[in-house]
Subunit: 225 residues, 2 copies
DNA sequence: ATAGCTACGATTGGATCCAATTTGTTTGGA
DNA sequence: TCCAAACAAATTGGATCCAATCGTAGCTAT
């Protein structure tokens, strides 16, 4: 049971990401509409949205199917997010940090470092850090009054793995996760310092590297000081 | 009178870009449907698409209006295109030029240099060069079998000024245009050389600079040899 | 006179109906 | 036995109908 239209899109996205609809599986309007307890019209709208986002893909002439992503696709989507967030960070550094953004970022840094500094990590704290991480990225991206970059990133965030809050982490391997989060948190600190000192080229490079953390968390970063 | 759905989107896009619907103007479903000679349903689908593309924007709670772009928005959209095409070029350089892509790019280079080399430019030849330019960019972007970057760029190309074929040029100022095209054509040559020699970092930088040509055509480029 | 509330009109969102197209299956012929 | 053609079933796309909601205008009361 879903209420309004945007929640239908969200519900379908969730089902796709959760694997409820398998990659490659064909989606027809009527079964989906019945499953969601709505009529075909909003489902058609939602399909249109998801198709444009790239989560659904035409197969044959009329049918839609869940897009299958190869590992190479994932790598590529992460690169895209990296250059876009890098651009956002560079422009922010060039404009200079306004007090509000600076405060928000500092808040994220503090919250994140508190979590990461704990002796032992729980799954809850990993979730909490993920939330902080997402907020850190969103703050940088949304700092631009022109919504152009934010929109561009939003248009690509549909890819589950490409969104900033998907650092996640094989459940159970808490030690490895802790290590990874420590590195990511360090990245955040470096990014903030570069932002504050207006090192635009450097902050762009840092953000681009940081996007890769899901892939190479023992990354090229040389923690400086 | 419009036939299928995608042509409705195209028709509306054209009307918006042509200024038939002014920036900020509110668009209601019924008048548009009547103007196009179709029912409300396909118009709603098209509105959804255009909204996601960013050409339409919600105003208030339900209404849609043609988005107004500030000069800063334009600058920003061009930056976005720059980093995305830069990424595409870098990945292409890292993979190496396959013969087919290489041939296509060389063809663009030859065609473009022929036009630019003419003594006098006409508006037709500017149009022809524009087409070659668009093909050059598309070849680089589409060279990746993974459609991820191409899709990401396509999702942003709706902004009229942000698409690669909008180098254009105040009609009448043919001399200035000629000069600008010469520079752009030189950029293409530099990009190709860097691609061929696998200088991935350099080609990325070149593409990013090249995207700015509409703004600063007396750009940072130092024509090398 | 102004502010707030109510009611009506306009417009969007959802449901259902109808038409067109596609795809799969079955049957017949080579 | 295999291929092709035609038919049937399913599914998408378009049109219309109905309901819900938003915005505005007008009226009333303080």
């Amino acid at each position: 049971m879903v209420s309004d239209n945007s929640s239908i899109v969200a519900a379908l996205r969730k089902r796709i990401i959760d694997g409820h609809y398998a990659p490659g599986e064909r989606l027809a309007e009527i079964p989906v509409a019945e499953a969601l307890g709505v009529s075909r019209t909003p489902v058609r709208l939602a399909f249109r949205t998801l198709q444009q986002e790239g989560l659904l893909q035409r197969v044959g002439k009329r049918a839609l199917a869940v897009r299958v992503f190869s590992p190479a696709d994932v790598q590529c989507a992460i690169e895209v997010r990296g250059v876009l967030e890098g651009l956002a960070a560079r422009l922010l550094a060039e404009r200079g940090l306004d007090p509000k953004t600076r405060a928000a970022l500092l808040d994220c840094l503090r919250a994140g470092e508190t979590i990461v500094g704990m002796a032992q990590l729980s799954e809850e704290s990993i979730g909490a850090w993920s939330e902080v991480n997402a907020r850190f990225h969103a703050t940088i991206v949304d700092a631009d009054e022109r919504r152009v970059i934010a929109d561009a990133i939003a248009r690509n965030n549909h890819l589950p793995f490409a969104s900033a809050d998907s650092i996640i982490i094989e459940r159970g391997e808490l030690d490895k996760a802790h290590q990874r989060l420590r590195i990511a948190q360090l990245h955040h600190r470096l990014v903030f310092d570069a932002l504050e000192s207006g090192e635009s080229a450097r902050v762009e490079m840092l953000m681009r590297e940081h996007a890769q953390i899901g892939l190479r968390y023992d990354s090229l970063f040389k923690p400086i000081e």
